[in-house]
């Protein structure tokens, strides 16, 4: 099992450009999450999904959109990137034991820089 994978690993955008980050998991997990990690701020939840076709807002959702068309994939989109979105983005997933209360398994991260 590859676990949780993320593409791309690195990306540099100019202000106003758009991009999509892809998260894939091969563990048949029901719940998936997108976090951002910034120095001094810790990990913060952007959006999450409790199953195929569902999405919900987390702590810092503004400027991001998500989609979960297939159970194994969770996409994070930036429609018009801003320098404040420079961060490291992590995807995570956990099985159906309980979203938010069960062990989450993380991907390797995507480092995004917005100039």
């Amino acid at each position: 099992n590859a676990g949780v994978t993320q593409t791309p690993k690195f990306r540099v955008l100019k202000t106003g450009q758009s991009m999509t980050l892809l998260c894939a998991q091969d563990m048949n997990h029901e719940y998936m999450y997108w976090y951002r990690q910034d120095p001094g701020m810790g990990l913060r939840l952007i959006h999450y999904s409790v199953g195929e076709g569902t999405t919900a807002k987390g702590e810092v959702p503004d400027g991001y959109n998500v989609s979960r068309l297939k159970k194994q994939n969770f996409l994070l989109g930036l429609e018009s990137a801003a320098p404040s979105q420079t961060s490291v983005y992590f995807c995570a997933s956990n099985p159906s034991g309980g979203y938010g209360t069960d062990t989450q398994y993380f991907g390797p991260g995507t480092r995004l820089t917005v100039l």
């Binding site: 919900a56 995570a92 209360t101 989450q104 993380f106 991260g109």
Partner: protein
């Protein structure tokens, strides 16, 4: 307000010098406390979950303990390869968009450096 606080922010130890990291939380009805290890440039790696006061779990040189208000991650005779940032997380009830749910809320981490 429910929150998760880790201390110290950074800790430097000599190889073999045992110490403890602290994670304090203020939440009623704890639904688990999670410890993760994060190496530079990588995603958090799950270490332990603790559910009730008095519970302890061990893995190699690490032992996690839990009380009603805090958790400790004890590191015995650390080696340089134990150098990493250690994160703790607690499910907290959040109502971001009208509907509430439990979300894993992370502390800011303790950066551990073990010097040979």
């Amino acid at each position: 307000e429910d929150q998760v606080t880790q201390s110290p922010e950074a800790l430097r130890l000599q190889e073999g010098e045992s110490s403890s990291l602290n994670c304090s939380y203020t939440v009623s009805g704890l639904r688990g406390l999670f410890w993760y290890r994060q190496d530079p440039g990588k995603g958090p790696e799950f270490l332990f979950t603790l559910y009730s006061a008095g519970e302890e779990k061990e893995k190699e040189r690490l032992k996690a303990t839990l009380t009603k208000k805090e958790s400790f991650l004890h590191i015995t005779a650390p080696k340089p390869e134990d150098s990493a940032t250690y994160l703790c997380a607690v499910p907290l009830y959040r109502g971001y968009s009208g509907a509430g749910s439990y979300q894993l809320t992370f502390g800011k981490g303790t950066k551990l450096s073990v010097i040979p």
